[in-house]
């Protein structure tokens, strides 16, 4: 598309004093013949904006390039309906980090004018992706979390389908005798609120309940998920097995294959788990929904390494889940002989040798022990409860409940590690060491209660059953939970439109489950609303661009389908990718993965970035002015550059920065473009990766590093040194490291001959 571009150079902020503005204008009007180029100070001022608007109307501009301060400021000022706006950064990236009125500073600014005019000229005109979408929500799990999500979404006016595997709603909450509610005065237990909630769900005309049902399959994408709901039955076990086997095989292949991205499926390996039944052969319902809340909850973890505590051999050694069921019946009686219990030892910590005694439990296990101690004290005023813990964990106002229990003379609370439980004359003898009451202690009790962990159901059961090329599950976070790995964005899973809530995320109490469910319901609503407008969700919320594939040139290499962190691509029978635009988060990692360069966005393409590289002016080898292209992540590295500028940190003027949507957006062809133009070195600056990755698109920076590891072939072909490519990880607050990184690389390059391709 041919654009009429107006270039507006800002002379404020010291730019006018540090650069030859006339020469900059000559680049725009001379080299590129733009119809309008003006230089004024502070284009964000209303009277200056009026000039731009006037030019848009009078000259018929289709695009405006502001060359001035960082695009991170005045974003709201530079909005002109229907006109493309681009921003070249002459402030933070030029005059604030370079000496004024220097030949190299001027060359840097002129290159940015060239590169950004070219960038602007490459915008395509494409409408956003709009299809008819559903604004109904699927909630999986009819426990407290799922019911809360359903009710809260319904209260905002949305239709909900609620699928619960048991014949009745309520989940675990049905089995609780009493609950701690987290409400003042914090010292009392209350009846489980579950019946109230079930009644509200049943009363709601916005919620359709599928009790005794499971999700057989979810296919499609946000705004257009098709869900097959099927009555519970033995089929689910077959599905569990098929998925677990498939996952184990996939993991084994990955372990053998090595690093990320190297997950090429061997010939004939199944890309999806086998599905036992064909939906045409069983009764089912299909519902179309826009988004999904996954609230499948937890199951108790069988106590591990608890043989020395008599678990499994002594009938009166039970778990806290079993005690809950006993207490719900009224008086607490002993499993062995039915005698009413008058003393209980609660054991929170199985032993020091178990690294994670309660991997899945430590959020609430202390509270459960205290609660159950109160059951005994209320049902039997002479009863005695011993609670042995490693760390008493009663966060927030729950501390007040703990304090109240400390004041109860029938409750003995102590740090302590149990060393053994044995049969004694009138019950059980519990040996505990390292207590507050002495080094060794023996108590005789009627019952021993062990804390159990809360394992997320999704750990090994088929729940979502996604029909996605990348598999039927939500990718887990590094801790094994179905949660986002972002502290700042806890709902952002790697499957767009699917939000988790409650104990699939981590063990939590009722209050937290309800809060979490409400938040997940909001995200589900938000996703449907944005998708209906053809807009992206987090972290590029509102972005109307989406990837388009020129499929006829596709070689079925499958890199895009495999590398997309969000599983946006499925596969056509012929092996070409099948995009699902509403699953897409617009990171453009697929664009970087594609060796055929056939994936593009309307405002971002392989050609656009490649053309920016080629637009640079590269001095000849005798000028002793090397050139380096630095591809940077726009999310974190770009602000780093801005902050370096704000602090007036100075670094080499030989570098040219090109921001990408994510470092994983890097396409190898740009490296070849740069090298064959005579660029001396290429640097990539992205986010930290690894277990505690900071990449907003999960694995973009890691993929970039991986791709650069494969560049050696290109370098060998060009007979160039491999050190000309440099990849750096930089956190957003490490601006002070930037000059060192840049200058060290320039220094390193000075040890090489100039790139021999200059001038070709």
């Amino acid at each position: 598309m041919d654009h009429k571009i107006g270039v507006y150079i800002d002379t404020g902020y010291g730019i006018g004093e540090a650069l030859d503005i006339e020469a900059l204008c000559t680049v725009a009007t001379g080299e590129f013949s733009v119809p309008v180029c003006r230089a004024e100070s502070y284009w964000n001022e209303p009277d200056k904006l009026a000039i731009i608007r006037n030019d848009i109307a009078g000259e018929g501009l289709t695009a405006v390039l502001i060359a001035g301060p960082s695009p991170r400021v005045h974003q709201d000022a530079f909005k002109f309906d229907g006109t493309i706006v681009e921003r070249a950064n002459l402030r933070e990236h030029v005059v604030w980090c370079q000496p004024p009125n220097h030949e190299d500073t001027q060359m840097l600014a002129e290159d940015y004018i060239r590169m950004w005019i070219v960038k602007t000229s490459k915008y395509e005109d494409r409408p956003p992706f709009m299809e008819e979408t559903s604004k109904d929500i699927l909630v999986i799990g009819g426990g407290m979390t799922g019911m809360t999500a359903a009710l809260e979404a319904a209260a905002a006016g949305y239709q909900v389908y609620l699928v619960e595997k048991e014949p009745q709603l309520g989940g675990w909450a049905n089995k609780y005798a009493k609950v701690f509610t987290g409400k003042p005065p914090y010292t009392e237990l209350t009846d489980s609120p579950v019946q109230e909630k079930i009644a509200a769900v049943n009363k709601s005309d916005k919620i359709k309940v599928f009790a005794g049902h499971r999700v057989f399959r979810i296919s499609g994408a946000p705004g257009m998920f098709d869900v097959i709901v099927r009555a519970d039955g033995p089929w689910i076990e077959k599905l569990d097995t098929a998925q677990n086997e498939w996952l184990a095989a996939k993991k084994a292949r990955e372990a053998a294959g090595g690093a990320a991205g190297e997950k090429k499926e061997a010939e004939g390996e199944p890309t999806e788990p086998e599905v036992p039944d064909d939906p045409s052969e069983f009764a089912h319902e299909v519902v179309r929904v826009g988004s999904v809340v996954l609230a499948a909850g937890w199951r108790p973890e069988e106590p591990q390494n608890a043989e020395h505590l008599g678990y499994g051999t002594l009938p009166d050694v039970i778990t806290n889940v079993q005690l809950e069921e006993l207490a719900a019946k009224g008086k607490i009686t002993r499993p062995s002989d039915g005698k009413e219990v008058s003393s209980i030892a609660f054991i929170e910590c199985m032993g020091p040798e178990v690294e994670h005694p309660l991997l899945y439990g430590s959020n609430v296990s202390s509270l459960v022990a205290l609660k159950q101690a109160q059951y005994l004290r209320k049902s039997n005023p002479d009863g005695k409860a011993f609670v042995f813990y490693n760390n008493m964990r009663t966060p927030g106002q729950y501390e007040v409940f703990y304090q109240a229990m400390q004041d109860d003379p029938g409750v003995f609370l102590s740090k302590g590690i149990p060393t053994g439980v044995a049969s004694a004359a009138s019950g059980l003898a519990v040996d505990v060491k390292d207590t507050l009451l002495g080094e060794q202690l023996r108590v005789n009790v009627d019952l021993v209660v062990l804390s159990t962990g809360m394992v997320p159901v999704t750990k090994d059961a088929a729940v979502l059953n996604l029909k996605y090329r990348q598999g039927p599950f939500l990718p887990e976070n590094p801790y094994g939970f179905n949660d986002s790995h972002f502290i700042c964005f806890p709902y952002e899973t790697q499957r767009t439109g699917i939000y988790t809530a409650g104990c699939v995320r981590q063990p939590m109490d009722f209050q937290s489950c309800e809060t979490d469910a409400t938040g997940a319901a909001l995200k589900a609503i938000q996703c449907m609303e944005l998708v209906a407008q053809g807009k992206a969700v987090h972290p590029r919320a509102g972005d109307e661009s989406f990837p388009e594939i020129f499929v006829t040139r596709c070689t079925q290499c499958k890199r895009c389908t495999e590398e997309c962190p969000f599983g946006a691509y499925d596969e056509q029978p012929n092996g070409t990718p099948m995009p699902n635009p509403t699953r897409c988060r617009r990171c453009a990692i697929c664009m970087g993965s594609c060796p055929e360069r056939i994936i593009s966005f309307r405002d971002h393409s392989v050609d656009m970035i490649g053309s920016m590289v080629k637009a640079m002016s590269v001095p000849d080898e005798y000028a002793e002015k090397p050139r380096v292209v630095v591809f940077i992540c726009e999310n974190d590295a770009y602000p780093v550059l801005d902050m370096a500028g704000m602090h007036r940190l100075q670094y080499s003027a030989f570098v040219r920065f090109i921001p990408l949507r994510c470092l994983g957006n890097i396409n190898m062809v740009w490296i070849a473009d740069a090298l064959s133009k005579g660029i001396d070195g290429i640097m990539l600056i992205g986010c930290k990766y690894g277990d505690d990755y900071q990449c907003h698109f999960v694995k973009g920076s890691e993929l970039a590093e991986y791709r650069m590891g494969k560049i050696s072939e290109t370098l060998q072909r060009l007979v160039l040194e491999s050190d000309r490519i440099n990849v750096q990880q930089l956190a957003i607050d490490e601006y002070y490291k930037l000059p060192g990184i840049i200058n060290d690389f320039i220094e390193l390059l000075s040890g090489f001959d100039p790139n021999p391709y200059k001038g070709f």
């Binding site: 100070s41 809260e152 927030g396 501390e399 700042c488 937290s512 979490d516 938040g519």
Partner: protein
């Protein structure tokens, strides 16, 4: 959704920002009100988040971008909500907006280095000074200078100040000490209150030496001390003499879990101290950190973080209650006294510096919500579930991730207020 409805979010910390952007991206108009001159609140002053040890500005940047590109969010800084009347679906709120006293085109502190007046730097908890005209921090949103009117008014007739004003004008920065506060009234459908917390006043902990011992600081100060943009540029050194800290003590439950101060558990201090111990170990590989705790509360999956940190044998955990902190008058070393809970033995140990893990006190315990129908618990946390919606630490002590879940939920509560009215 029929017609766009408006949500007022009060408090521009991480909870308020989240409630605002989540509600706006779900289709509401949002007015976000923050008392300070910038958004970000307490997390902007943190060096790193546990458990990933990543910089909070990384997530803030994304959130600021969400605000910048969303025309449905209006932000007022230096603003306070003075009064709210009405009911869900129909509230009126009065917002008082104080002047910045300076207008610029997004300048930086470097642009006003010649300002002749210095004031204590609140962003660094008073550990250094800043110019009376400055950008609060590099990532500030809005990215505009702010002036301290009181400090400048004292010197407004001096030649130094006049020439400073002149030099500013040349840089496109206009200083106007005559600017006045204004009050605006807004009609909104729903209100989310997320005014967050303040660190418990450590001077009230008389025996723990804060304010009397030079090298006793609080955990929030430790965040600034470790930050590259902090008062020491990230050098973890003693306030008394600038000496590198080799031997650091953390005193847990400084105020929290104490019936005389904050009876509740602040939930995050154990993890914060574990995190801060890693700051010291990264900065000074020779250094040692000792954490004195009652219970080490690493809940849920934070237990992985606890494991990782405590693998370091130079991070020592001692189950003990510190009851008295004094200093050596000559060396300014800090002397901790207390009891080892397990052995029952007395503790008396000397450290280069001590960090008090002070707890979180809800701002609503001091400044109540000026609106109808809000109820509080004994500690000042909001407990009412209808009407004005609390979000984040306004409701209970919580870590950042939990605040965000809570604030996202509050956004839905706000959305519900706008439905069918």
């Amino acid at each position: 959704m029929a017609g766009q409805k408006t949500v007022l979010v009060v408090g521009g910390g991480i909870s308020g920002i989240t409630a605002a952007v989540e509600a706006a991206e779900a289709g509401c108009k949002v007015i976000l009100v923050e008392r300070l001159p910038y958004l970000g609140g307490r997390v902007a002053q943190l060096n790193k988040y546990f458990p990933k040890l990543c910089p909070p500005t990384c997530g803030l940047e994304i959130n600021f971008r969400r605000i910048r590109r969303n025309p449905d969010i209006t932000v007022y800084t230096l603003a306070e909500v003075e009064r709210i009347a009405g009911k869900p679906g129909a509230y009126t709120a009065s917002i008082k907006i104080s002047p910045r006293y300076v207008e610029d085109h997004t300048a930086t502190s470097k642009c006003v280095e010649d300002c002749p007046v210095e004031i204590p730097n609140d962003f660094n908890y008073g550990m250094d000074k800043t110019k009376a005209v400055s950008l609060p921090y590099e990532m500030a949103y809005p990215m505009n200078l702010v002036a301290n009117g009181d400090a400048l008014n004292k010197v407004k007739d001096t030649p130094g100040f006049k020439s400073f004003v002149e030099s500013c004008t040349k840089k496109g920065i206009r200083i106007d000490l005559e600017a006045k506060a204004e009050t605006i009234d807004v009609e909104v459908d729903s209100v989310v209150w997320a005014t967050g917390w303040r660190p418990y006043d450590a001077t009230k902990l008389e025996k723990l030496g804060f304010g009397t011992c030079a090298n006793v600081i609080t955990n929030v100060m430790m965040e600034r001390l470790a930050a590259a943009n902090g008062p020491t540029r990230g050098e973890i050194v003693r306030p008394s003499d600038g000496k590198k800290v080799n031997n650091l003590a953390f005193v847990q439950c400084a105020g929290s879990r104490d019936r005389n101060h904050l009876p509740y558990c602040s939930s995050i201090c154990c993890l914060a101290s574990l995190k801060q111990a890693t700051y010291l170990r990264d900065y000074n590989p020779e250094a040692q950190a000792q954490i004195f705790y009652i219970d080490l509360r690493a809940h849920g999956r934070f237990e992985f973080f606890f494991d990782r940190v405590t693998k370091d044998d130079k991070i020592i955990l001692t189950k003990g209650k510190i009851v008295n902190v004094t200093e050596d008058p000559v060396t300014k070393d800090v002397i901790l006294e207390g009891e080892d809970i397990l052995s029952g033995q007395k503790i008396r140990r000397t450290f280069d510096m001590a960090v008090l893990a002070t707890g979180m006190q809800p701002n609503t315990s001091v400044e109540k919500i000026p609106g109808p129908g809000v109820t509080y618990d004994d500690f000042g946390f909001v407990v009412s579930a209808t009407g004005i919606h609390g979000a984040g630490v306004t409701k209970r002590p919580m870590d950042v991730g939990t605040c965000l879940q809570d604030a996202t939920g509050a956004a839905l509560k706000a959305l519900q207020d706008t439905v069918g009215r």
